[in-house]
C-alpha cells in the first residue's frame, strides 16, 4: 500500500551524489542550498519533485538535486515543464533558468508559460551575463556594460524581468538578493504554495564574469538602505532606521522620510500583492531606489490545469464515447458483405 504521509526529510535528502561544479563564491550555491532547505518544509514527497532546466551555469542545478530532473536544451525548460505538469498535475514542477536562457533564446516560452498560468515554479538566476559561454552580454545586461561581446560597451537596452513577466500576465512575481538565503528559502516555500505559475528572480552574482553587478543593492552593510523587502499587507517601509517609505504622488511613486514634512507611518502605502490590477506592481518592479524585493505580486487566478480538468470532466459527462471503438463505429459506416 502506498503511504500518503509525507516522510520528514532533511536538506540532505535532496542533495544528489554529484560534485557541485560551480565557481567557488558563485551565488548559485546559495540558491541550491536554499532549495534543499526549503523542500523538506513544503510537504511534498521527494518522488513528486521534478526540476527542469535549460542550458547555462544555472541550468546544471537539477544534477545536484536528488529528485527527478531533466537538464534539457537552451531556453525550452518552460515548455518541457508544461508538458510534465499537464501530463501529471500531481507533481511539483520547477523550472531552473538563466537570464539568457529565459529571455533571449527562450523568451517565447517564458512569456507563454506565464500567460497560461500553469501551476509550476520558475527560478530565474539573473546574473546579467551569459556565464556558461564565458561572459557575453545578456538581455538583462546594462547599456554600456563591457563584456566579451561588447568590448566598447553594450548598446542594447535591457529587459527588466519583472516588467516583462507582469506584462506577460505573471500572477506571482518575487525578487530576492542572491545573498539572503533565509528569505530565499521562505520564498521558495511560498512559490510552491501558490497555485499558478510563480516566478522568482534571484539577483545572482557571477563572481567570474560580472562580479558585483548587484552589490549596490545587495551588499550586507547597505542593503537595508537600498532594498525594500515588501510583505503583503504591510507598509512599504525600508532603511536601517525604518524611516523611509513609499507614497503615491499622482501617478508616481515617491520615497519619503517618516517624520519629515509631516509624514507619518500611516501615510505609507500598504503593499497589496494580491491586487489584480498590476499597475502598482509594475511601478514597484521598475523602481531603482529602493530596489524592491520580496513577493511583489501574488494574484490568485484559475490555472490552466484547472480549466482543462473542468472541461475534460464536462466533455466526458456529455460524451457518448468511452472507448475508441465507439468512435470508430459511429457516424457514416457501412457494411460490405
Amino acid at each position: 500500500m502506498e503511504t500518503t504521509v509525507v516522510k520528514k526529510y532533511t536538506f540532505k535528502d535532496f542533495a544528489s551524489n554529484q560534485e557541485v561544479r560551480w565557481c567557488p563564491g558563485c551565488d548559485d550555491y546559495v540558491i541550491l542550498r536554499s532549495m534543499q532547505k526549503a523542500l523538506p518544509e513544503m510537504g511534498v514527497k521527494k518522488e513528486d519533485v521534478v526540476f527542469i532546466s535549460g542550458i547555462g551555469c544555472s541550468s546544471r542545478f537539477p544534477y545536484y538535486m536528488d529528485t527527478y530532473g531533466m537538464h534539457s536544451i537552451h531556453g525550452r525548460a518552460p515548455a518541457i515543464a508544461s508538458g510534465v505538469k499537464l501530463a501529471n498535475p500531481d507533481l511539483s514542477v520547477w523550472v531552473i533558468t538563466g537570464d539568457g536562457d529565459s529571455m533571449a533564446i527562450g523568451g517565447n516560452h517564458f512569456i507563454h508559460v506565464l500567460r497560461r498560468n500553469i501551476n509550476l515554479n520558475i527560478i530565474l538566476f539573473n546574473n546579467e551575463i551569459y556565464g556558461l559561454t564565458k561572459g557575453q552580454f545578456s538581455p538583462t545586461s546594462l547599456v554600456g556594460q563591457k563584456t566579451k561581446s561588447s568590448p566598447y560597451g553594450n548598446t542594447q537596452p535591457p529587459f527588466q524581468p519583472g516588467e516583462l513577466a507582469i506584462g506577460a500576465r505573471a500572477r506571482f512575481f518575487a525578487r530576492i538578493g542572491g545573498n539572503t538565503p533565509k528569505e530565499m528559502t521562505q520564498m521558495f516555500i511560498d512559490a510552491e504554495t501558490f497555485n499558478g505559475t510563480s516566478l522568482i528572480e534571484v539577483l545572482q552574482n557571477c563572481v567570474i564574469f560580472n562580479d558585483g553587478c548587484f552589490s549596490q543593492y545587495t551588499d550586507k552593510n547597505i542593503r537595508e538602505d537600498k532594498q525594500l523587502f515588501v510583505e503583503h499587507g504591510k507598509p512599504m517601509i525600508f532603511g536601517k532606521n525604518r524611516d523611509k517609505g513609499l507614497v503615491l504622488n499622482g501617478l508616481k511613486i515617491e520615497v519619503v522620510t517618516i517624520g519629515e514634512n509631516g509624514i507619518m507611518e500611516a501615510d505609507i502605502l500598504l503593499h497589496n500583492a494580491k491586487e489584480e490590477d498590476p499597475t502598482l506592481h509594475q511601478m514597484l518592479v521598475r523602481l531603482e531606489y529602493p530596489l524592491v524585493t520580496g513577493i511583489i505580486r501574488r494574484f490568485d487566478d484559475v490555472t490552466l490545469e484547472e480549466r482543462e480538468d473542468a472541461l475534460t470532466k464536462e466533455v466526458k459527462s456529455n460524451s457518448k464515447f468511452t472507448k475508441t471503438d465507439d468512435l470508430f463505429f459511429s457516424g457514416e459506416i457501412y457494411e460490405v458483405k
Binding site: I55, A79, G83, L86, A87, N88, E308, L311, F329, V336
Partner: protein
C-alpha cells in the same frame, strides 16, 4: 410536402463501367466539398471502392468568381480496386466559368462537362479571364458539354417554400448538380436525403428545400434528352466487414487514439498549426472524452518539447507538423533521442523548401527526417502509404517508440493526408499488443540506463515513482549510472549503442515484399504516399502482359527491412520513384552496392500521373 421517393419508371439501358473519375468544381461558396463527399459516400455505401481528393483555394475568402477562388473535389469510384483519386477526369461539373477555366485541362477528350449556364454571365466570364464565352466560341468542341440552367431551375424548384432567403436558395444549387450526377451514375439520392435529415434536424425547412432541389436535379436528368446515356458501376470486390470513408489525417489521429487505449497510457499531443498537418490537431482536440491532452503550443519547438516533458512524465507523447516545423523541432528531437524517451513526430510533408508549396504534396523531407539533427542521432523513420493505412502506421509508430524508447518520425504527405478512401474499421482488440518499458518499483542496483537485453531500450522511470529519482539530459551520460560523463570511450560506446538500438528494430518489423513479380527485368520501388500511383501503374502494365515488372514499396525507412538487399538483387533494373530529387534512392545507394539503381523523380507539388509512369517503365524494359 412532396414525397421523397424516387421512382425508377424510365430506367435506361446503362452502360457498365469499371471506374470513373468525377470532379466537382465551383466557387469556394458553392459547396463542392460537400457535393463531392456525398457522392463518394453514396458510392462507397453502394459497394464501390472509392478514393477522393479535395482541392481548396489557399486564400481563405477569395473573391467570388475568381480563378484562384476555385474549390474542387475529385472522386474516383470503381467496381475494381481503386488506389488513387485518379488523374484525368471523365466528368467535370463546373458551377462557374472560373471552375471550367482552371479544370478543363484535366478532362479526357470526348468526355463530359456539365456547366451551370446561369453563371456564365459577362461579369463571371471576365472574372475568369475569358475573352469570349467558351460555351459559344467552339473551344469545347472536343467535349460533350451539357448546359443546365441550374440556378434558375433551383429557384423554380423552391418557389413554394416559405421563409427561404435568396442566399439559401442559391446555396442549394450544388444539390441540383448532385441530383444530375446521381442519375447519370445510377445512384440513389436516399443516402444524401438521410444526411439532410440529420444535418438539418433543427431546421426542417432546409431538409425540405435541399431534398427538393436534389430530386429536381435527378428528375431533370431523367427527362433530359441532352443526357444521352447513363452509366453504372457495379460494387467492387472488397473484403467483407464494416467500413467508413477516412482521410489520412483522421486515420493518423485515430491510430494514436487506438495506441493510447491499447497501451493503457494517456495521449499527449503538443502541436502548432501548420498546413497540411493541422487537421490531426483539429481531430485530437475533440477527444477529451478519451482523456486526450491536446496542447496547442506557442511554436513547434514548444510543441515537441512539451511532448518530451509529457513523455518524461509517462504519457504517450506525440507532436504533429509539416516540413518547416520539423526543421524547428530538430534540436529537441536530438534531446529526445539522447535521453531515450518515447516520442512520435508526425511530419505531413508538403512542397518545400522554406514555405514552398504549402498546399501541395511532396516527399522532400526524407533526408531531414533521417539526418536533420546535430551529432550522431539516428531515430526510427516510418512512412504511411495510403489514407487509411495512416491508422496502422500511427499505431505502429507509437508501439515502436514505446517498446524501443526512442523518437519515431512518421512521414505522411499532403496527398494521403487530405485524400480519403474506405477503411475497414479496426477494433482496438484486433490490434497488436503494445508493451512499454516502465519500471514501477525500486530494485537493488537499479540505474536509469539499464537496458533491455534484446531491444536495448532503457527503462522508463517516471516522476512520481518512489525511489527512482534520477536526472537525464542532453549531456552525454555514463553508460550505466546515467551521470554526466565526458569519458571518450563512454561517448563512443553510447553513440554505438544508441545506433544499434535503432538497427535492432529490424528484428521487430516485417520484411519487404514484392507485388506482381519477385524477380525479373524491372523492380519499381516507391516509399510513402506514392503507393497508389505506383501500384496501379505496375498493375496496369502487368495486365498488359509485362509480367517481369515487380513492385516493392517501403514503409520502413530507418531501419530498412532486413531482407531489402535480397529483394532488390533479384531484378536486372531497379527504378526508385519519388516526389523529390532522389532522396530515398541515395539512402539505398548508401546501404547497398547494387548496380543499376535508377531513379525517376518529379518535383511539381503533384502526385505521379499514371501515363508518365507507364511511359517511363515501358521505356526501361524495352
Amino acid at each position: 410536402m412532396m414525397a421523397n421517393k424516387i421512382t425508377d419508371n424510365k430506367k435506361l439501358q446503362h452502360e457498365i463501367l469499371d471506374a470513373v473519375v468525377i470532379r466537382f468544381v465551383g466557387d469556394s461558396g458553392d459547396g463542392m466539398q460537400l457535393t463531392g463527399s456525398q457522392f463518394s459516400d453514396t458510392s462507397a455505401m453502394f459497394g464501390n471502392d472509392v478514393a477522393t481528393f479535395p482541392n481548396y483555394p489557399s486564400e481563405i475568402r477569395a473573391p467570388q468568381g475568381s480563378l484562384y477562388g476555385v474549390s474542387g473535389f475529385q472522386v474516383h469510384i470503381g467496381s475494381i480496386e481503386i488506389s488513387t483519386p485518379g488523374d484525368d477526369v471523365d466528368l467535370l461539373v463546373a458551377m462557374n466559368p472560373a471552375g471550367l477555366k482552371t479544370n478543363i485541362y484535366s478532362v479526357k477528350p470526348g468526355h463530359t462537362i456539365i456547366v451551370d449556364i446561369d453563371s456564365f454571365t459577362k461579369k463571371n466570364l471576365e472574372k475568369a479571364k475569358y475573352e469570349t464565352n467558351p460555351l459559344k466560341d467552339g473551344s469545347l468542341e472536343n467535349y460533350r458539354v451539357i448546359e443546365v440552367s441550374m440556378s434558375s431551375l433551383t429557384k423554380a424548384a423552391l418557389k413554394d417554400i416559405e421563409n427561404l432567403d435568396n442566399k439559401s436558395i442559391i446555396r442549394s444549387k450544388n444539390m441540383f448538380a448532385l441530383g444530375i450526377v446521381y442519375w447519370m451514375y445510377d445512384r440513389s439520392p436516399e443516402h444524401t436525403i438521410d444526411f439532410f435529415k440529420k444535418k438539418f434536424a433543427s431546421k426542417p425547412h432546409l431538409i425540405e428545400s435541399n431534398t427538393k432541389v436534389l430530386n429536381a436535379g435527378y428528375y431533370y436528368a431523367e427527362t433530359l434528352e441532352l443526357i444521352p446515356n447513363a452509366y453504372s458501376i457495379s460494387p467492387a470486390k472488397m473484403k467483407s466487414g464494416t467500413y467508413r470513408i477516412i482521410s489520412g489525417n483522421t486515420a493518423t489521429a485515430w491510430g494514436f487514439l487506438a495506441a493510447a487505449e491499447k497501451s493503457g497510457l494517456e495521449l499527449f499531443l503538443g502541436s502548432y498549426p501548420i498546413t497540411p498537418a493541422t487537421d490531426i490537431l483539429h481531430e485530437l482536440v475533440k477527444h477529451k472524452h478519451f482523456g486526450v491532452k491536446a496542447f496547442q503550443a506557442e511554436d513547434e519547438i514548444a510543441g515537441v518539447t512539451s511532448a518530451i516533458g509529457a513523455s518524461f512524465a509517462g504519457d504517450l507523447a506525440i507532436t504533429t507538423t509539416s516540413g518547416p516545423g520539423l526543421a524547428l523541432k530538430g534540436e529537441a528531437l536530438g534531446l529526445a533521442m539522447m535521453v531515450e524517451l518515447p516520442l512520435v513526430v508526425v511530419n505531413v510533408q508538403r512542397g518545400g523548401p522554406s514555405t514552398g508549396l504549402p498546399t501541395k504534396t511532396e516527399q522532400s523531407d526524407l533526408m531531414q527526417a533521417m539526418y536533420g539533427r546535430n551529432g550522431e542521432s539516428p531515430v526510427i523513420v516510418l512512412a504511411a502509404s495510403t489514407p487509411s493505412n495512416c491508422f496502422n502506421y500511427a499505431y505502429q509508430a507509437a508501439k515502436l517508440a514505446l517498446e524501443h524508447m526512442t523518437p519515431v518520425i512518421l512521414l505522411t504527405d499532403g496527398y494521403i493526408a487530405n485524400g480519403s478512401e474506405p477503411w475497414k474499421i479496426k477494433r482496438v482488440a484486433e490490434m497488436p499488443e503494445i508493451k512499454n518499458n516502465k519500471v514501477t518499483k525500486v530494485t537493488e542496483n537499479w540505474h536509469p540506463y539499464d537496458r533491455n537485453e534484446e531491444t536495448l531500450a532503457r527503462n522508463w522511470a517516471v516522476p512520481g515513482t518512489f525511489g527512482l529519482e534520477h536526472r537525464i539530459g542532453g549531456l552525454e551520460k555514463d553508460r550505466i549510472t546515467g551521470d554526466v560523463s565526458h569519458v571518450p570511450e563512454n561517448h563512443e560506446f553510447m553513440t554505438n549503442i544508441r545506433a544499434e538500438k535503432i538497427e535492432r528494430v529490424q528484428n521487430y518489423i516485417p520484411g519487404l515484399t514484392t507485388e506482381f513479380a519477385d524477380s525479373g527485368d524491372l523492380l519499381v520501388v516507391g516509399w510513402g504516399g506514392t503507393y497508389g500511383s505506383l501500384h496501379s501503374a505496375v498493375k496496369q502494365l502487368n495486365s498488359e502482359g509485362y509480367n517481369k515488372i515487380g513492385y516493392a514499396h517501403f514503409n520502413y525507412i530507418n531501419p530498412l527491412p532486413k531482407n531489402t538487399e535480397d529483394v532488390l538483387s533479384k531484378f536486372k533494373k531497379i527504378v526508385v520513384c519519388e516526389l523529390n530529387n532522389g532522396q530515398f534512392v541515395n539512402i539505398l545507394r548508401m546501404h547497398f552496392n547494387i548496380n543499376g539503381l535508377l531513379q525517376y523523380n518529379k518535383v511539381q507539388g503533384l502526385p505521379f500521373g499514371n501515363n508518365e509512369l507507364i511511359t517511363e517503365f515501358k521505356k526501361l524494359v524495352e
